[in-house]
C-alpha cells in the first residue's frame, strides 16, 4: 500500500475543515443533511460489489445500493427543501 491514498485522506480532511468552518450557523442543518447525502458516495462501492456473480456478496451489494440510494436521494432532496425556505427580506 503506497502513501498516495493516505496523502489523499489527510489532504481531504484539511480541505473539509477549511470549507466547513466557513459555513454560517444558520445553514448548519442543511450542511448536515447535505454532507450526509455526500457520504452516500458509498453507493459507488455498493454498485461495484454487485459485480460478483450469484453469491451472497451480490445480495449484500443489492442491500447496500438500496441503503446508499435512500441516503443520497433523501439527503439531497430534503436539503433542497430546506434551502428553498431561506429567503431574503422582501
Amino acid at each position: 500500500m503506497d502513501i498516495t491514498v493516505i496523502t489523499i485522506f489527510v489532504l481531504a480532511i484539511f480541505v473539509g475543515f477549511e470549507i466547513i468552518t466557513k459555513v454560517p450557523p444558520t445553514l448548519h442543518t442543511p450542511l448536515m443533511s447535505g454532507s450526509n447525502a455526500i457520504s452516500g458516495i458509498a453507493i459507488i462501492g455498493a454498485l461495484l460489489s454487485t459485480l460478483v456473480e450469484g453469491d451472497i456478496a451480490t445480495w449484500l451489494g443489492f442491500v447496500s445500493v438500496l441503503f446508499a440510494m435512500i441516503n443520497v436521494v433523501g439527503g439531497f432532496m430534503v436539503t433542497d427543501r430546506m434551502l428553498k425556505m431561506f429567503k431574503k427580506k422582501k
Binding site: 480532511i13 444558520t26 443533511s33 450526509n36 455526500i38 460489489s49 451480490t58 443520497v72 430546506m82
Partner: protein, 474 residues
C-alpha cells in the same frame, strides 16, 4: 475506458467540494446543493458504465436488474421521507439517513471481504475492512437508537447500568482482537461475524446512556462517523482494486463529511459547555431531571399582554429569543407576524439564535425560515450579544437555560461557563413561559426575578396572537 471513469470521479469530488463551499451563504447554498447532487449523479452513471464494460458473461443481465431495482426503490423511499418529514422532525430524519449511510459502507466492506481470494490479503486490507465494518455498523445501530430517543420510542432518559463502561471497553478489546485474528488469518469467518455482531452492540451501548437533551451532539457525531465509515470503505476498495479510483472518491467524500461532523460536534459541545467525553460518558442531559436548583426564592412580576403591548409600543429595537419551546407550541408563524407588524411600525427586529436552541445544529434557523423569517434577521450568539446593550425589549419565547445569567456569574451552577445570550442587558426582558417550571437542566432561572424582567404566562402561540392584537389596538 477506466481513465474516463476515474476522471468522472475526480469531477464528482470537485463538485462536492465546490457545492459545500457554496453553502457558505444562504444566497448560493441551494445551487451548491444542486452541484453536489450533480456530482453524485455523475459518479453513479460512471460506475454503472464500468459495470457494463468490465463484466463478461451472463451475470450482467441479473446485475442490471438488481441494480435497477435497488436504485429505484432507494430513490422512492428516500424521496418519500424527504417530502413527508416535518421540519421539527429533521433530527430524526438525519439520524436515519446517517444510519443508512453507515450501513451501506459496512455492507460494501462485508461484500469486499467475502470476495477476497482464498490465498488471503494484505494486513492493510484486513485492517481497512475491519475498521469500515466497525464504524459503519455502529453508526447504523447507534443512529437508530438516537432516532428512537428523538421520536420517543426509546426513553429520552439516560439508560445506565453498572459496569457499562467496562462492558464497552471489553467490546472494544474483543473487536481489536478479532481484527488481529483477521490479519493473522486465524478463523477468518468467525472473526468476521464477531466484528459485525459486536460493533452492532457497541453502537447501541454507546448511545443508550446519552440523554435526550444531548442528542444534538450525538447526531453530529454519528454524522461524522458515517463519513469516516465511507472513507474506510474507500481504503478497502483501493486495496482490492488498485487500478480504479472509486476508492479515492470515497476517501475524499468521507473525509469531507467526517470533518464536517466533527466541527459541528465541537460547536454543539461548546454551546452546552460540555466536553465530548462528558457527553458520551457522563450519562446526563435527561429531558426532565428533578427540580434541583438552588431553592432561592425568586420574586417575579407577571404582566398581561395589554401591559406588555405598551412596552412594545414604546420600544425601538426588539430582539426575539426563540427556544425549542416555541417550535413545540408551533408558534413560529405567530412570531413572524408580530415581528412584521412591529417592523411596519418602524421598529428594528432581530432574532437571537443560540447554538443549542433546537434539536440539532442550526435547527431553529430552519424552523424560522419555514415560517418565512428572512435569514438576514437571524443572528448567532457572537453577532447578537453586543446588540443587547442598546436593545429596548428582549422577548424570550420558550428559552430558559440559554438566557440564564447564572452561566456567567454563579460558579456553583451546573451550567456555569456555558455561553449564553445576554438578554438581561436589554432595557426590558419579556419572558413567555407556560408555567414556572425549570428548564432542561432543571435549574431555576434568576433572570426571572431581575428588576428589568417581566413574565407573561401562557401558551406561546395564544400569547403572541393576543399580544399582536393588543398592539394593533393601541
Amino acid at each position: 475506458m477506466e481513465i474516463y471513469i476515474n476522471i468522472a470521479y475526480l469531477i464528482a469530488a470537485v463538485c462536492f467540494i465546490y457545492g459545500l463551499k457554496m453553502l457558505s451563504h444562504p444566497r448560493t447554498a441551494r445551487n451548491g446543493n444542486l452541484i453536489s447532487s450533480f456530482g453524485m449523479l455523475l459518479a453513479i452513471i460512471a460506475t454503472v458504465g464500468l459495470n457494463g464494460t468490465d463484466v463478461n458473461g451472463t451475470s450482467i443481465q441479473l446485475n442490471w436488474m438488481l441494480i435497477g431495482i435497488a436504485l429505484l426503490l432507494g430513490s422512492i423511499i428516500g424521496a418519500f421521507f424527504a417530502v413527508k418529514v416535518e421540519m421539527t422532525q429533521m433530527p430524526q430524519l438525519v439520524a436515519i439517513f446517517n444510519g443508512f449511510g453507515g450501513a451501506a459502507s459496512s455492507l460494501v466492506a462485508c461484500s469486499e471481504f467475502l470476495k477476497l481470494p482464498d490465498v488471503g490479503a494484505s494486513t492493510f486490507t484486513f485492517i481497512a475492512i475491519s475498521l469500515s465494518i466497525i464504524v459503519g455498523t455502529l453508526t447504523f445501530t447507534g443512529s437508530f437508537i438516537a432516532f428512537g430517543k428523538l421520536q420517543g420510542f426509546v426513553s429520552g432518559q439516560p439508560i445506565t447500568f453498572t459496569g457499562q463502561q467496562a462492558l464497552n471497553a471489553i467490546l472494544a478489546l474483543i473487536l481489536v482482537g478479532s481484527t488481529v485474528m483477521l490479519v493473522m488469518g486465524i478463523e477468518l469467518m468467525t472473526a468476521f461475524y464477531i466484528i459485525i455482531g459486536l460493533s452492532a452492540l457497541l453502537g447501541i451501548f454507546l448511545v443508550i446512556p446519552i440523554g435526550g437533551a444531548d442528542m444534538p451532539v450525538v447526531i453530529s457525531l454519528l454524522n461524522s462517523y458515517s463519513g469516516i465509515a465511507a472513507a474506510m470503505t474507500g481504503f478497502v476498495l483501493i486495496a482490492n482494486n488498485p487500478e480504479s479510483s472509486a476508492g479515492n472518491a470515497l476517501i475524499i467524500c468521507g473525509s469531507l463529511v467526517g470533518a464536517s461532523g466533527i466541527i459541528l460536534t465541537k460547536i454543539m459541545c461548546k454551546g452546552m459547555n460540555r466536553s465530548l467525553a462528558n457527553v458520551i460518558f457522563g450519562a446526563v442531559g435527561g429531558e426532565v431531571e428533578g427540580g434541583g436548583g438552588s431553592g432561592k426564592e425568586v420574586n417575579i412580576k407577571s404582566y398581561s399582554t395589554e401591559e406588555a403591548a405598551m412596552i412594545f409600543d414604546a420600544a425601538e429595537k426588539i430582539v426575539i429569543v426563540p427556544g425549542y419551546g416555541l417550535a413545540v407550541a408551533q408558534a413560529q408563524h405567530g412570531v413572524r407576524e408580530l415581528a412584521e407588524h412591529l417592523e411596519s411600525m418602524g421598529k428594528t427586529v432581530l432574532y437571537a439564535i443560540h447554538p443549542v436552541a433546537g434539536r440539532m445544529p442550526g435547527h431553529m434557523n430552519v424552523l424560522l425560515a419555514e415560517a418565512n423569517v428572512p435569514y438576514e434577521q437571524l443572528k448567532d450568539l457572537d453577532e447578537i450579544n453586543p446588540e443587547f446593550e442598546d436593545c429596548d425589549v428582549a422577548l424570550v419565547l420558550g428559552a430558559n437555560d440559554v438566557v440564564n445569567p447564572a452561566a456567567r456569574s454563579d460558579q456553583s451552577s451546573p451550567i456555569y461557563g456555558m455561553p449564553i445570550l445576554n438578554v438581561d442587558k436589554a432595557r426590558t426582558v419579556i419572558i413567555n413561559k407556560r408555567t414556572m417550571n425549570a428548564g432542561f437542566a432543571g435549574i431555576q432561572n434568576e433572570l426571572f426575578g431581575y428588576d428589568n424582567s417581566i413574565m407573561v404566562f401562557g401558551d406561546a402561540k395564544d400569547m403572541l396572537t393576543q399580544l399582536l392584537s393588543d398592539i394593533k389596538e393601541l
